[in-house]
């Protein structure tokens, strides 16, 4: 059946030659090259489950009296959005499963993006000619984080409200434009009735379309430039060695898709995530604790929690405290990510094309910087649960926060230096003999 249809198509659009070349395209082989693919398949799961959820979710802050089947909230006044999330969780067939798979897929999605970014960084895959694709990837990370944030904020439960309150306060802290940006975004003061519908537009339309579009660009550029490969064997800067797209690589990729789907559906089926019915409906006069953002915003929450209570007066204005950890730090973070390929080229003077990857141990300075930066953001994320740590250690929160402040500044430097020195020692060491001679003991 397939052959005649393909021939009929080929006669009319003439893509046969292209398809043959495409199916024979070689894909270099290494398990770490699959990290980006994991993220891509998470995105597919997110779109599929997200479409299902939009069939039932009501993006409205209208007050309604809940009358669904969850008894402890019957008769309580909630937003329509919250009531519809309760309906999805308790009254829509498979609704809770799909909601949980959606949320778990989001957590794994961003984790896979971060791991992919680290792989690209530590192997030098961002170097010429791949700077553009690096920046496209960084943009997708940013968009994924905002997708997560808007999704977290939609159910209009207590955690949603707390996240929005923090986010809007951070936005307001930007000098000159903060307050106006907030009004533009929310159509008024927090909490505004237009908040949920607007977040919804971002979450289900603008952000996913942007991610999908950039994903296409990302893969197209990869296709055009071809994948990098590790040195060794027959692999050189002039060739691409790997199995062809069809059938070997496609089969492998399909297997990976099945694995991603199995893992996120398994998580959704086995582990409860975000039990909004226990957190209760959002109410500006109340909050809950312990509370955290989803993991990929933890570093910013940690920065807000540990930044000293400094405020500055400049340009005739008070620059509010959240500006530094909430706006300046993330801005510098992403600026640094965007600029890294160019920064490194300038520092090393290496502006040549690279098709072969570095092994992380062969670049002690880059790997040292990377390890220090990873330690910095990991510790900030840890600081995002300073209260839970205080409880675990039975220590006052102030003391834990103070210790974390020191650790955030000191430990990354130590880890960076240690990594740099250790890798430099390995690099400079004479090659180990292929075999050692064991002297007989008797």
């Amino acid at each position: 059946v397939i052959a005649p249809v393909a021939r009929w198509l080929d006669d009319r659009v003439g893509l046969g030659g292209w398809a043959r070349r495409a199916l024979n395209k070689a894909f270099p082989d290494h398990w770490s090259f699959l990290l980006g693919e994991i993220a891509m398949y998470c995105f597919a799961v997110l779109v599929a489950t997200g479409v299902f959820l939009t069939l039932f979710f009501q993006p409205s802050a209208e007050a309604v009296v809940y009358s669904g089947s969850y008894e402890p909230l019957q008769g309580v006044e909630v937003t329509q959005a919250y009531a519809s999330v309760l309906d999805i969780s308790f009254d829509v067939r498979a609704g809770l499963l799909v909601r949980q798979v959606h949320h778990w897929a989001a957590l794994v999605f961003v984790a896979a993006i971060v791991l992919h970014l680290l792989r690209v960084f530590f192997t030098g895959a961002f170097r010429r000619p791949r700077e553009i694709n690096w920046m496209v990837g960084v943009t997708m990370l940013l968009l994924a984080m905002f997708s997560g944030y808007t999704g977290y904020s939609l159910p209009s439960d207590l955690l949603s409200g707390a996240a929005l309150r923090i986010g809007t306060a951070v936005l307001q802290s930007i000098p000159f434009i903060g307050t106006w940006s907030l009004f533009l975004l929310l159509g008024g003061e927090f909490p505004s009735p237009q908040m949920i519908p607007r977040l919804f537009t971002f979450h289900v339309l603008l952000l996913p379309v942007a991610i999908g579009g950039l994903l296409g660009v990302h893969v197209a550029i990869l296709w055009h430039q071809k994948h990098t490969q590790f040195p060794g064997g027959p692999r050189t800067d002039k060739n691409v060695v790997g199995p062809p797209l069809w059938p070997a690589y496609m089969a492998r990729s399909a297997g990976l898709f099945c694995a991603v789907a199995a893992v996120v559906i398994g998580l959704g089926a086995l582990f409860q995530i975000n039990p909004v019915w226990l957190y209760g409906p959002f109410n500006p006069s109340t909050t809950t604790a312990p509370a955290q953002p989803d993991w990929y915003w933890g570093w910013m929450d940690g920065a807000l929690r540990t930044f000293p209570n400094w405020e500055f007066r400049g340009l005739g204005r008070m620059i509010a405290n959240p500006f530094f950890p909430g706006v300046l730090l993330p801005a510098l973070t992403f600026l640094g990510l965007y600029a890294w390929p160019f920064l490194e080229a300038r520092l090393t003077g290496d502006r040549s094309e690279h098709q072969l990857l570095d092994r992380p141990r062969d670049h002690p300075v880059r790997s040292g910087i990377g390890a220090g930066v990873v330690a910095f953001y990991t510790l900030l994320t840890v600081a995002g649960v300073n209260d839970t740590i205080a409880r675990l250690l039975d220590q006052p929160v102030f003391r834990v926060t103070g210790a974390l402040r020191v650790a955030i500044l000191v430990v990354p430097v130590l880890i960076g230096l240690l990594t740099w020195r250790a890798l430099a020692a390995v690099k400079d060491a004479p090659p180990t003999p292929a075999a050692t001679v064991e002297r007989g003991g008797g």
């Binding site: 909230l73 984790a111 207590l158 694995a259 995530i273 989803d294 993991w295 006052p396």
Partner: protein
């Protein structure tokens, strides 16, 4: 080590975090009493509970004649309590007066094991009670007869409504005890405990007495009916509708992030390692 086993270990560790109140039980009480005067002696319960009007039908009547310290209650009081609270409940530099604290406060402190403590510097927290029910009755009766004060509040959770109870809980209690009842550390190093181990009577007593740093909620703030509703919701939180799989200890997205990495990502890295060649 399989990822599953790893995750189980992490979850077990987190379980002890979530059940933080039970950690308290391990605090050693071996310190001597001869130490320095407490720097952080808790708020005198007498001071706050003086504001609590006696509920109708309470047994707060001051005994006409001082009770004899010969009975079991008196003996236990003199043995375990008088060192800090004084032989006549008058209080010392080590502990507050118990005059006017009444059954509501004293029964709460004794049944939840918050008292006695071996050292006034020790954090006052929930632990297994060292007394039998009869011994608690005897001590509480002795202190009430000697010092007066409000009786234990009558509580009937079944008479409370779950919906309003939940709203009141989130409004008055959730800030410190958490919407899910997990409890939360306060800045001072004390914690507002999880509400998952408390009995109905203990919850009502705590609301009316305001132990430790907790505010007092008098009948002007919360009627008896509202207390019934809150208590019903607290009892619900001890065994809530937990659909959706394993509950990850209801401490917020923290545990969800850990599971996403240690279960989700670890499994997928394993899959990638199997699917992709490494050379």
């Amino acid at each position: 080590v399989t990822p599953g086993a790893l995750a189980a270990v992490v979850l077990a560790i987190l379980g002890t975090v979530a059940g933080g109140a039970t950690l308290a039980g391990t605090v050693a009480g071996g310190a001597t009493l001869a130490g320095t005067v407490a720097a952080q002696v808790p708020t005198p319960p007498g001071g706050v509970s003086a504001q609590v009007p006696t509920p109708p039908g309470g047994v707060s009547a001051q005994a006409p004649t001082p009770p004899s310290p010969q009975g079991q209650g008196g003996e236990l009081y003199l043995r375990d309590c008088a060192w800090c609270h004084g032989a006549n409940l008058e209080g010392t530099s080590r502990g507050p007066t118990l005059v006017g604290t009444g059954e509501a406060s004293n029964r709460f402190y004794l049944t939840t094991g918050r008292m006695p403590i071996a050292d006034p510097n020790e954090l006052i927290r929930r632990r297994p009670s060292v007394y039998s029910g009869a011994e608690i009755d005897a001590i509480v009766g002795y202190v009430a007869a000697l010092g007066g004060g409000p009786a234990s509040p009558a509580v009937d959770p079944a008479a409370g409504d779950l919906g309003p109870g939940g709203e009141l809980y989130r409004l008055h209690c959730g800030q410190c005890h958490g919407a899910t009842g997990a409890g939360f550390p306060l800045l001072s190093g004390r914690s507002s405990p999880a509400v998952w181990n408390s009995t109905a009577v203990e919850v009502a007593q705590a609301i009316r007495v305001g132990p430790g740093g907790m505010p007092v909620f008098s009948p002007e703030t919360l009627t008896d009916q509202e207390v019934n509703a809150i208590v019903r919701y607290v009892l619900y939180l001890q065994d809530p509708d937990d659909r959706g799989g394993f509950h990850l200890f209801r401490v917020g997205p923290l545990t969800e992030g850990i599971v996403a990495w240690l279960v989700g990502i670890v499994l997928l890295l394993f899959a990638a390692r199997l699917l992709g060649e490494d050379e």
